[in-house]
Each structure stands twice: as C-alpha cells, then as structure tokens.
Symmetry: C2
Subunit: 241 residues, 2 copies
C-alpha cells in the first residue's frame, strides 16, 4: 500500500470516505501519471493528516478515490510567518515554494517602499504552496495572504508575535540569535532587493517585539535569505530542534 503520488484535495478525509476528483486531478492521475483502478495515492487536505486512498473509478475527466487508512497524522508547522516583499515573478514563486517546504505557517507578501511588483496573483502563489506541500511530504499547506502595505501590516501587528528582522545593514555583524525567545509566535521579515528603506528599518528597529539578525557577511538575495532565515529559526526555535 505504498503511494508514489501525493495529492492535496479540498475535501474531508476519513477511513472509507469517497473523494471525487476535479477534472484537473483526474487528468493528472489518469492521463499524465497513468494510474489505473486499484492504484494507491496519498491524500492530504491540510486538516486531517494524510490518508492512503485507492482509485475506485478512473475516467478521463473524472474519478473517485476511496480513503483507506491514515498514513500520517496532521503535523502543524511551528507558528512562524514569512513576511516578504515580492520580487521578480520567478523568484517570488520560489520564495513561496521554499517557505512551504521549510515549514512556514503563513506566507505574507508585503509591499515595502522599494517593492517593484505591487501586484501578485494570490491564487497562483497559493497553488505553488500546495505543490510544495505535495512534494515535501507535509500535511499542512501554509496560506498565502493578500499583499499588504508594510506600514499597515505593522499598524495592525498582533501583540504576541515576535519579529525576526533580517537586516542587510547588519552584514558582517555577528548578532546573537541564540538569545532569541524560543517558542511563541514569530514572523520573519525579508526585505526586497535594495533592502528596507531607512524609515522602514527605523520602524522595525524600534518595534518592541522585533529583533534584528545578520545573515552572514555576504548580501543574500531575498529568496536565499528566506531559506537561510527559516533554517536558523527552525533550528533554534522550530521543529528542527
């Protein structure tokens, strides 16, 4: 009962539950991947863990899977958000993919002073997060939030969420991340190409819940910085401990 394919479905999962497939899912499983009736697929929906399901009906544009046993419990990622300024399309896609793989709980695009691309296709980015979750074996899909202005985001910032501010101006400094509060709710802030503006840096620096860290002596691209910061955080405060 080994499934090679993992599929995200927007449907409740439980032993014995029938899952109708969308046209796209049926096309992928039966047209592209050539699964036949009786084959196994791993399903998750972000809420009920992972189930092994059997193909009960396989059509060109439709199909039904039936859940057998739960193969993984729901594993929520630690409560860390990734707040980032969208960059060029391919790299923005990449950041979303990486955030999902690295176990961010929520992905928050933000518009900063130096953000070039103000529009994002939220649905497309969400699809990237789903695909990354399918790929990495996770049972949870982080939500991609609507883009929000940096200022408004901080105006409405929750009282209990720490901010890890990846400060380009600290390049070369060796700030002590070890002393960062473990546990609790966190958000990682990654600036756009060109970094945060002086006003934004001042605002973040003065925020009572924010602490700055350096990501080494080289200047990292935003997509590299996102993976590096999530690595440090997961290792120090998250589920890599």
């Amino acid at each position: 009962m080994k499934a090679k394919i993992r599929l995200y479905v927007d449907h409740a999962l439980a032993a014995g539950q029938s899952i109708p497939l969308t046209k796209e899912q049926a096309h992928y499983l039966f047209g592209v991947m050539r699964l036949a009736e009786g084959a196994f697929v791993a399903l998750f929906n972000g809420r009920d863990g992972e189930y092994i399901a059997r193909v009960a009906e396989a059509g060109k544009r439709r199909g039904i899977l039936v859940c057998e046993a739960q193969s993984k419990p729901l594993q929520m990622p630690p409560d860390v958000w990734l707040c980032f300024a969208p960059i060029k399309k391919a790299r923005t896609d990449f950041i979303v993919e990486k955030a999902a793989e690295m176990g961010a709980a929520r992905i928050c695009p933000m518009q900063t002073e130096f953000t070039n691309s103000e529009r994002i296709r939220r649905d497309r980015l969400q699809a990237h997060a789903v695909e990354a979750a399918e790929q990495c074996g996770g049972t949870y899909v982080p939500e991609v939030a609507e883009i929000e202005r940096f200022g408004r985001m901080l105006d409405n910032w929750p009282d209990d969420r720490h901010i890890l501010f990846c400060d380009e101006a600290l390049v070369g400094d060796k700030l002590d991340f070890e002393s960062a509060a473990k546990g609790g709710k966190w958000a990682i802030f990654i600036g756009p190409e060109g970094g945060f503006s002086d006003a934004e840096r001042t605002r973040l620096g003065a925020h009572p819940l924010a602490r700055s860290i350096s990501l080494g002596p080289r200047i990292l691209r935003a997509d590299t910085a996102a993976v590096a910061a999530l690595t440090l955080w997961q290792k120090q405060c998250g589920d890599w401990q």
Copy 2:
C-alpha cells in the same frame, strides 16, 4: 566614490592599474548601464580584493578602467565545498548561484546513481557563480569543478576533509549537529531527487570523515537543502559565527 556596479574581471588589480574591458563588459557598462567616463565601478578578481575603478575610456565595444583605491580586502570564504547531484537545468543553475552567495569555497557537481542529467555546461555554471559573487558583494568566486562520479570522488577523497551528509532518510530525526567538529575542511553532500541510493548511503555512512545530519521533518528539494545545509554549516563552523 560610490560604485553601484560590481564587476568581476580576470586581471590583476592594484592602485593605478589600467584594466582593459572585454567587448561584453564594455557593452554592459556603457551600452546597458549607460556609464560615462569618470563614473565609478567596483572591480574584483577573486584574488586581490575589491577596487574602486574609474572609467577612463568608454567605447561601444571597448573601454578602460583605472583602479583607484582598494575598497575591500580579499575575504576568502571558509573551506567548505558543496557536492551536489545536478538536477533540472534551472534548479542546477540555482544551486550554483546559492552556493556562491552562501560562501561555498568550491562547487562540485557529482554524478550519483539517481542523477538524471549527466551533462553539465561547466562554463555556464561558472558564469552563474561569477554573477552571484558580483551580486552578493563577495570578493571571491568559487570554482565550479568538472562533474565527477560519486564513487570516484570518494575513492580519491582527501584525508583531511570532513563530510556533512544531508541524509533524507533521517527526516524527522534530530541529529546533533552541535557536536560536529568546528574548523578544518568540510564538504556538504546533497543528493539528487530521489536521494542517494542504498549503496551510496552505506558508503557515506561508513566513511570515517562523514557525519549525517537531518534537515528537519519535511523532505527538501535539493536546491532548498543546499541553502539550508550551508546555513547550518556557516552558522556552526563557518563565517556566520
């Protein structure tokens, strides 16, 4: 004397030194970036640190820069290699870019049992490493080695270079990276999609200089794993300490 553009040149750098530009460099600086005579460019060659140079002659297909003062000393990265199995073209490019940004000293493509693309364009990958060094402010460019078979690589493995083996089979385990030897020479091994084969895992596991680490409870793509492993290594043993 602030330079917005950083350029890698294959020429000795010293105060007063004239640097003739290639056709491509002249086109980039004067055609694309529209620099005029008297403008400043930051130059590095991977050996002499970074110099601020002034445009002395600007032509369509040629130009001369004259070095003024050194703006950064040569900063060698710590002695860590990234050994990885090439994957799809875009992701292989990405791994090389990320390795350079993250301060790998040498980038070693390796052909494993599950490696799909056996051919790489070494010159093209080297150009990606140069571009990443230009971008990240580094003064060093890691060499991209010729691709080598996994077995032969280990047959000729240097006696004094530790191996950090990112083992997908350890997903979920919490191996203690803290106890890894600091200092000394290292190489990080990242497998291809599908991981290392059982024979390869056994060989790495038995290697006296190798230690395995887990990169958290989710399965990371090779490009994500490269950044995450370099982050952990730089933080623990390298120049992020």
